[in-house]
Amino acid sequence: MNMNVETPKEPVDAMTFQLPEELQVKVKTRDVNVHYGEKQALFDINLDVPANHVVSLIGPSGCGKSTYLRCLNRMNDIIDIARVSGKIELDGLDIYDKNIDVVELRARVGMVFQKPNPFPKSIFDNVAYGPRIHGLADNKTELEEIVVTSLQKAGLFDEVKDRLKDSGTGLSGGQQQRLCIARAIATRPEVILMDEPASALDPIATAVIEELIDELRQNFTIIIVTHSMQQAARISQYTAFFHLGYLVEVGDTEQIFTNPVDRRTQDYITGRFG
């Protein structure tokens, strides 16, 4: 990408946009910078994510969307060279605080990855794994209940109810991704992070997932990275546009796609780069 976009010298104030007062802020990001070794991947990110909404992160590839997403459940911790600074709060709780247990955090902030990655175990065990390690069920019946509800919420139960013992890797791509969503739901998270969850799926499976995301909004806060602007427009209420590590613009999805403020956003959504 050798576009001649001038890199902003000043951090962009994406916060010209204010969430409506009545919305509860679920995830609050303040001045987050991320470095991979010498290279800075994110610059002073400020973003508020409202509870029970879907927020899309869009932007050209390599702009730091995944990096930002991984900050929210501290998956960057496992990358040796990654360094995160700034403040991220979940319900007012600093998730980078020393006293925070990442294991608990990741149960509360679930993640769905780009490529469906079910464990090579049975469908049941895939969903039951999280509740098991976190001790969320006291007995077998409770565990089964969690598994069934999670599969139902992920819209997969009817398709797999007769073969819960079969391997999760034997499902179709779309089913696998919904299994991964069920697995994430099973730990009763508050926030679900999705990193291009439909990019490896065919259009029909994608449509199913999109519908599902809309339903999941009732119970969860969803932050989704997508490379498809149509998808962002279809499923999210708010959209954040990243560019070269900067959060350029945040706003109502409709506003971002119809009336973007920043020229770079405009260029991107009209397909002039990325």
Binding site: M75, N117, G130
Partner: protein
């Protein structure tokens, strides 16, 4: 460099030039040449494979050729009267069976009277024949007082003669380098014994049954009775120790290095050294074992415990390297998935990565153990080549021998019978190695995953 640039600038749209003429002679020749090179490469590869296979075939064939005779033993059927006067009924194991055995055999040659002849006659029988009679009586004490037929092995020269391995007559080695004159093979005392032997053949008393002795007997000074049971036990015990040490330690080390160790100079250094360790000649591990386990810690010589520990030193790098490769082959998406639902690092490793890597780890372990099974030098250095004539008291702390050291010992023995037994033992060892490798291949294929 500048040339190329100039050239590119001079002809900016070379793609727009007249099309390449695929039908031209030049183009045809080029294509032909490329196919020729393809064929050449394939021929080279095929040639290499065929050479390797042929060498292997030659090895196996030559071993089989010299070794197959060890898989049967020439035996003579002898009727023996278990004289209750001689045999102590209460304690049949304590009786001397030499006389009974010899007398029974002499009975077939009533003409042989003189003592010297008798002594030579008795040499047709294996010196271990009396023990076979003893074992028979101990196993069937109710037969005392009866006449029983027992199949007794012949002594080595006659065994070999019957198998056609050695000739009766050899070239007389004169100063003039053999002038066609023949002389009696010095392994036979006189022409008479050959006559007696032929007599046994003529009376159809000889047979060549499968040599269970090769597998169930311990070592012996008499090749016709020598077997591998002691070596099997020794190898098994040593491999057990080797496995119990190198498997957990190797996996733990590999997991630490692969999953937990920070990537820095120090861990790089460790990594390089582990790889170096895998290339250290095994004799060095033997010396190390001798110096550390025996001289420093004062463990006894020749015992499987120490042998297994020395072998473990050797197997450890193999297991570490293969375990790391197996761990690395587990796709990162599985780790991410586990971390994503909140698994801690040890849970990621123990619940997901390790089980998925296990087939690879086992494959590597089996290959490591197969190497250890065939390893001779370290065992020789710690003295695990003891002469083990009985498998009664074998243990981790008892002197023992192992398959390769047994082969080494037999290969060093002058008796003709040990030549074929050495080859046979090598075949058995190769058989074990092939079996272990087959298990490894089976594991690899059974658990092979497509991600």
């Amino acid at each position: 460099m500048t040339d190329i640039l100039d050239h590119q600038i001079a002809e900016p749209d070379s793609l727009a030039n007249p099309r390449h003429d695929w039908a031209s002679d030049n183009a045809r020749r080029r294509i032909k040449k490329r196919y020729g090179r393809d064929r050449l490469l394939r021929a080279f590869g095929l040639g290499a494979v065929i050479t390797a296979l042929m060498l292997l075939a030659i090895l196996i064939a030559s071993l089989t050729y010299t070794g197959y005779v060890a898989f049967y033993t020439t035996k003579v059927k002898v009727d023996i009267f278990l004289d209750p006067q001689i045999i102590d009924k209460e304690n049949p194991g304590k009786t001397k069976y030499r006389k009974i055995t010899k007398q029974a055999f002499y009975a077939y040659f009533p003409d042989v009277k003189n003592r010297k002849d008798k002594r030579n006659l008795s040499k047709i029988l294996s010196s271990g024949a009396q023990y076979i009679v003893r074992d028979y009586v101990v196993a069937h004490p109710e037969k005392i007082g009866e006449t029983v037929t027992i199949n007794l092995p012949l002594s080595d020269p006659f065994d070999q003669l019957h198998k056609g391995v050695i000739p009766r007559w050899i070239d007389a080695a004169g100063k003039n380098g053999g002038n066609g004159e023949k002389m009696l093979n010095p392994r036979f005392k006189s022409e008479k014994v050959l006559v007696w032997f032929d007599n046994l053949v003529a009376r159809d008393m000889l047979s060549s049954p499968f040599s269970w002795e090769l597998f169930v007997n311990a070592d012996s000074r008499f090749p016709e009775l020598a077997g591998l049971a002691g070596a099997f036990t020794g190898s098994l015990l040593a491999l057990l120790v080797c496995f119990l040490i190198s498997f957990p330690v190797g996996i733990a080390a590999a997991i630490y290095l692969e999953e937990f160790a920070p990537k820095n100079r120090f861990t790089d250094f460790i990594e390089v050294n582990i790889n170096n360790l895998a290339a250290v000649p095994s004799v060095v591990f033997g010396l190390l074992g001798l110096a550390v386990f025996i001289n420093f810690f004062g463990l006894p010589r020749s015992v499987p415990l120490v042998g297994g520990m020395a072998l473990a030193l050797m197997t450890l790098p193999t297991i570490i390297v293969s375990t790391r490769a197996a761990l690395k082959a587990v796709p990162p998406s599985i780790r991410e998935a586990a971390l994503g639902v909140g698994a801690s690092r040890h849970e990621v490793v123990l619940h997901h990565v390790l089980p998925l890597a296990m087939p690879g780890i086992l494959t590597g372990t089996i290959i490591g153990l197969a190497q250890a099974l065939g390893e001779t030098a370290p065992l020789l250095l710690i003295g695990m080549n003891a002469f083990i004539p009985s498998i009664e008291n074998l243990g981790l702390m008892e002197p023992a021998t192992a398959l390769p050291t047994q082969i080494f010992a037999w290969g060093d023995s002058p008796e003709r019978g040990f030549v074929s037994r050495t080859s046979a033992a090598i075949l058995v060892l190769i058989g074990f190695l092939v079996m272990m490798n087959l298990v490894a291949i089976y594991l690899r294929q059974k658990f092979e995953r497509k991600w």
